[in-house]
């Protein structure tokens, strides 16, 4: 069952894009974004995530927060597939500027119920122009 078939209680699901532009831990934005993503998913909206600028650091693998006394919430991104949040758009230019590549990102997968629950990657690397197109295709954009 897709989002649209499920439908929201008060009508059709809207396309929500959550734009993440901040590194985790230095500010509270990344964690707050995750909270709101889960709320959007709970209301059966069509939720997609964008990671641009320092936001790409939110899904970098190997985060170890014991030394700074902050909760490591990076594993939460891997669980979003269970809430039908399966599209993580990551901007190629933002990675490159920071000396990062797709290999530095966590492996984030979801099970495609329309394809016999095949495991598929949630992360899609897109360029800046493609990201602009994705943004222009949304009903609602929430920035963090």
């Amino acid at each position: 069952m897709t989002m649209d078939e499920a439908g929201a209680p008060n009508g059709e699901a809207k396309k929500f894009l959550y734009v993440n532009r901040k590194a985790p831990y230095g500010t509270i934005y990344a964690l707050e974004s995750l909270e709101v993503v889960l709320i959007g998913a709970a209301f059966e909206q069509d939720v997609e995530l964008a990671f641009i600028d320092d936001g790409v650091y939110q899904i970098v693998k190997g985060q170890e927060t014991d030394g700074i006394g902050a909760k490591n919430f990076s594993a939460t991104y891997k669980a979003l597939g269970d809430y039908e949040v399966t599209k993580f758009y990551v901007e190629a230019e933002s990675l490159a500027e920071r000396g990062l590549t797709a290999d530095n990102l966590m492996e984030i997968m979801y099970e495609d119920e329309d394809d016999d629950w095949a495991e598929k990657p949630s992360i899609k690397i897109v360029n800046r122009a493609e990201m602009a197109e994705i943004m222009s295709a949304q009903d609602v954009i929430l920035s963090f």
């Binding site: 831990y25 030394g67 990062l100």
Partner: protein, 102 residues
Amino acid sequence: MSTLHTVNKSPFERSTLVSCLNHTVEGDKVLMIEDGVISARKGSAFEELVKSVQENCALYVLAPDMAARGIGKGDLVDGITPVDYNGFVDLVAECDRTQSWL
């Protein structure tokens, strides 16, 4: 007479790093903390700037903040020294003053 400069903002987010590095004098030390550690990564658009400053200043990065952001020691621009919290205190004690760039 030397100054310890701390930078806690990403160079992509604010111009703090650039402002700081433009105001260092020979013998100063610069410590990257919190989101400032993003400046220390090899291959970033700020690598050349960071390297050029190393001719006059010693650069440090706070290891627990690196680890939280998935940056390993092998990912650092050559010559940047990781320090722990005790090392942070040592740097403060060694220098005559500390300037916290925000």
